[in-house]
């Protein structure tokens, strides 16, 4: 496969000399909250307020069969189903659970090897029921991205098209953004598990080429090298540039093909991207026959020089987490769910941490950065650094003047919202805000037309 050109962007930064080690803190959540809204539709709750729930019970599912269901990690009681603030800044109906026990821990192997005999279709159906969510925003959920052609289609009004077989399976071990180091840390210390995990996904997807994408300069242990080489899995070093870990740019760099935007469905060019932590979740879920209950989250508090990687029960509220870690006294100006470049700043700490959140940053006054309402100075820095080759200055100006159709003609929907244009803008314009505003308004106009 041919490697593409280095994408435009900003350097990811050197590897820190000592990565924060994942910490398994004994966290006993009192409440867990599960928002019902996903990218692929709203899930239907299967429980009623006041009802009892047990560990592993399905709380909500998508009737169309596309979005992954929500499984309860611990036993407890349903407190209510009401609107709750989510990690993406919106209000969505959510199921609130009062816990009466600890969440099912992710146990070490209790596998009986039975899963090795299952064929790809059964494995995918198992994965669909496991309720695995990912931090990246892909066009289709995990199981539909990996399924081989031949699976019965989903019942949704617009089901995923899986007619094209997967030629490239890319396991993404590059961190999404500067400031997080979860995926780098995942590769050390569990070489055989990673190799087995990638082989399993290769079998499930039927991919012709399987690749592990790592950042250039990351040390790969010899045992991982040999294990992967033995199974025919290539390791590709990707440039140390920020948005290379985002799906369209990673696929373009590794395979040389471009995902047709704005649909953004990598299946159309025969590629599938799974990040390494989600791959490990899938592997463990199949091997141990139990759904994942804990998710790995990086909590950074730069003002207090803290950087933890924690295993957190899915659905836990940020306020409760900070309580249990005794961090409530810190000076906080911004609470960012999802990382410094791609995350949303939320207005209260009562938001649940779902598996879509892989990094929580608490910024104090000294790191705080606020946008200013300045006109564009036409310096061209955003054009110079946009990895998708757009003209962000023109797009955001059109959105600012509410000329949304004009913005769409300038490829507004090709924007992957990486945030580099706003990072480099000398006038501190709220670029991503204007782009999202434009996209929302166009969706609204299209919906009201229907």
């Amino acid at each position: 496969m041919k490697n593409g050109k280095k994408p435009k962007g900003i350097p990811l930064g050197r590897l820190p000399s000592s990565l924060p080690k994942p910490v398994r803190v004994e966290i006993k959540p009192k409440r867990l909250v599960f928002p019902l809204q996903t990218r692929w539709g709203t899930l239907r709750p299967l429980v009623k307020p006041g009802g009892d729930v047990s560990a592993g019970q399905i709380l909500a599912q998508d009737d169309g069969g596309v979005a992954p269901p929500i499984l309860c990690p611990c036993s407890g009681k349903v407190m209510g189903i009401r609107p709750w603030a989510t990690a993406s800044g919106s209000q969505a109906p959510a199921i609130a659970i009062q816990c009466s026990g600890s969440p099912m821990p992710q146990t070490a192997t209790k596998d009986d090897g039975g899963w090795k005999q299952l064929d790809a279709q059964s494995l995918i159906k198992t994965v669909m029921k496991m309720g695995i969510r990912e931090p990246d925003s892909y066009r289709w959920p995990l199981a539909w991205r990996l399924a081989q052609p031949g699976l019965p289609p989903a019942q949704a009004s617009w089901p995923p098209d899986i007619s094209r077989p997967i030629e490239y399976l890319i396991i993404n071990a590059i961190d999404r953004q500067p400031g997080t180091s979860l995926r780098e840390a995942a590769l050390s210390g569990r070489e055989t598990e990673i190799a087995d995990c990638i082989s399993l996904l290769e079998r499930v997807s039927g991919a012709r080429n399987t690749v592990l994408a790592v950042k250039k300069g990351q040390p790969i242990s010899d045992s991982l090298d040999t294990e992967l080489g033995r199974r025919g899995i290539r390791i590709i070093m990707c440039p140390d540039i920020y948005p290379v870990a985002l799906e369209p740019l990673l696929v373009k760099y590794i395979t040389g093909r471009e995902i047709p935007m704005p649909e953004g469905n990598s299946r159309m060019i025969g590629a599938a991207v799974v990040d390494v932590l989600t791959a490990l979740k899938v592997y463990r879920a199949i091997r141990d026959a139990s759904p994942p209950t804990l998710t790995l989250v990086q909590l950074s508090v730069p003002s207090a020089n803290m950087d933890y990687q924690l295993w957190i029960p899915e659905g836990m509220l940020v306020s409760e987490l900070l309580d249990q870690l005794q961090l409530t006294g810190i000076n906080a100006s911004k609470l960012i769910m999802g990382g410094p470049f791609l995350g949303y700043a939320v207005d209260s700490s009562d938001v649940p941490i779902t598996a879509e959140v892989d990094s929580i940053v608490v910024q104090g006054d000294s790191e705080l950065f606020l946008y200013e309402n300045n006109p564009c100075i036409n310096c061209g820095f955003c054009v110079k650094s946009c990895p998708m080759g757009l003209l962000p200055n023109e797009i955001t100006r059109s959105c600012e003047y509410e000329n949304f159709e004009g913005a769409e003609k300038k490829f507004l929907f090709y924007c992957i919202e990486c945030g580099i244009c706003a990072y480099v803008c000398p006038a501190k314009r709220p670029m991503i805000h204007l782009i999202r505003f434009g996209k929302q308004e166009i969706y609204r106009m299209r919906q009201s037309e229907q």
Partner: protein, 325 residues
């Protein structure tokens, strides 16, 4: 959390730290070697002209903002930069009111009337300079001989700026001038445009700090050189060499400080290349066959006018595939 409220904003939540103030001050720092060269050859009167220009520019911007009701933001350095560049384009022997009038026109008509930094269609310093050059042509064309402060002897080959000598006396008038004189700035001319080495230092600093990209300076200079070389090959008695046209006159100054100004030059790489080539071509055409002495300011103003059209030369958008592989 202890705080009563949290700030909410869209991503990203970090900034590179490069503000408008940073960029403008980078431009001003890049001009300092050339300011030193101006003082070195033309003495304190050169510095006085620069100070008058900068002060007038600052005052004009403050008064205009007050009059119009805009918030005053002179700390971002753009008025200082406009004033400084305009001062560099003047001779050190002009009367005191020339820089003041020029700065007034440059700030008001060249920048503020259009909405401030980055929104002016024409390079603001050049608007001020052109007003002066067309209205007070004889007053402006009073260029002193260089008078180096130490180490060097005054250049003795030229009595008038090189481009003027070329137009008046032909190639014979400039053929004996050593390149060293242009590089060190030992020639008569405007305050800022004479010393090529100082300007190249400043330009290298700008490129290193990534304030401007290499496209416009490189293509401007290369086009001027190629055009000069080609014409001098065809008729060496009438046309000077390419190197002369690059080193003598405003070429180097314009390539780094006038042509790539924010807002008046294109933002796309293809547009920048076309802009640099166009500036070079127009400069040479006006110099060789036009009636004005120095072609650079008018070439840049003309290219500024078509910058929005050059912006249509867009980079390739990722994901715009017509057929699926």
């Amino acid at each position: 959390m202890k705080r009563p409220h949290l700030y909410v904003s869209s991503s990203p939540h970090l900034h590179s730290g490069k503000t408008v103030k940073c960029l403008m001050w980078d431009f001003i720092i890049a001009l300092l070697p050339a300011v030193f060269a101006g003082w070195f050859y033309f003495g304190w009167s050169a510095l006085l002209i620069l100070v008058l220009c900068v002060a007038a520019a600052l005052l004009t911007e403050v008064l205009y903002d007050k009059l119009v009701g805009k918030s005053i933001d002179v700390a971002n350095g753009s008025a200082i930069f406009t004033g400084l560049v305009l001062g560099m384009l003047l001779s050190s022997q002009v009367p005191w009111w020339i820089p003041i009038v020029g700065a007034l026109v440059a700030i008001v008509a060249g920048k503020e009337l259009f909405g401030g930094l980055g929104n002016n269609p024409f390079n603001s310093s050049l608007v001020g300079w052109t007003f002066l050059a067309l209205s007070y042509r004889d007053i402006l064309e009073n260029y002193p001989m260089p008078n180096p402060k130490f180490l060097l002897e005054a250049g003795e080959y030229l009595a008038y700026p090189a481009i003027y000598t070329l137009k008046d006396s032909g190639v014979d008038g400039i053929i004996d001038v050593p390149w060293r004189d242009y590089l060190l700035g030992n020639v008569p001319g405007e305050i800022g445009t004479i010393c090529v080495i100082a300007l190249l230092l400043g330009g290298a600093y700008l490129l290193y700090r990534r304030v401007i990209t290499w496209h416009i300076p490189v293509f401007f200079i290369v086009t001027v050189w190629v055009f000069g070389y080609a014409t001098s090959l065809i008729d060496p008695d009438t046309y000077a060499s390419g190197t002369f046209h690059v080193l003598g006159g405003w070429t180097i100054f314009a390539a780094f400080f006038l042509a790539p100004e924010f807002g008046t030059s294109p933002v796309t790489p293809g547009g920048k290349i076309a802009y640099g080539i166009g500036c070079g071509l127009l400069t040479m055409i006006i110099r060789l066959w036009g009636s004005y002495m120095e072609g650079v300011p008018f070439a840049i103003l003309l290219m500024n006018a078509i910058t929005p059209l050059l912006d249509k030369i867009r980079p390739r958008v990722v994901g715009r595939v017509k057929e699926i592989a």
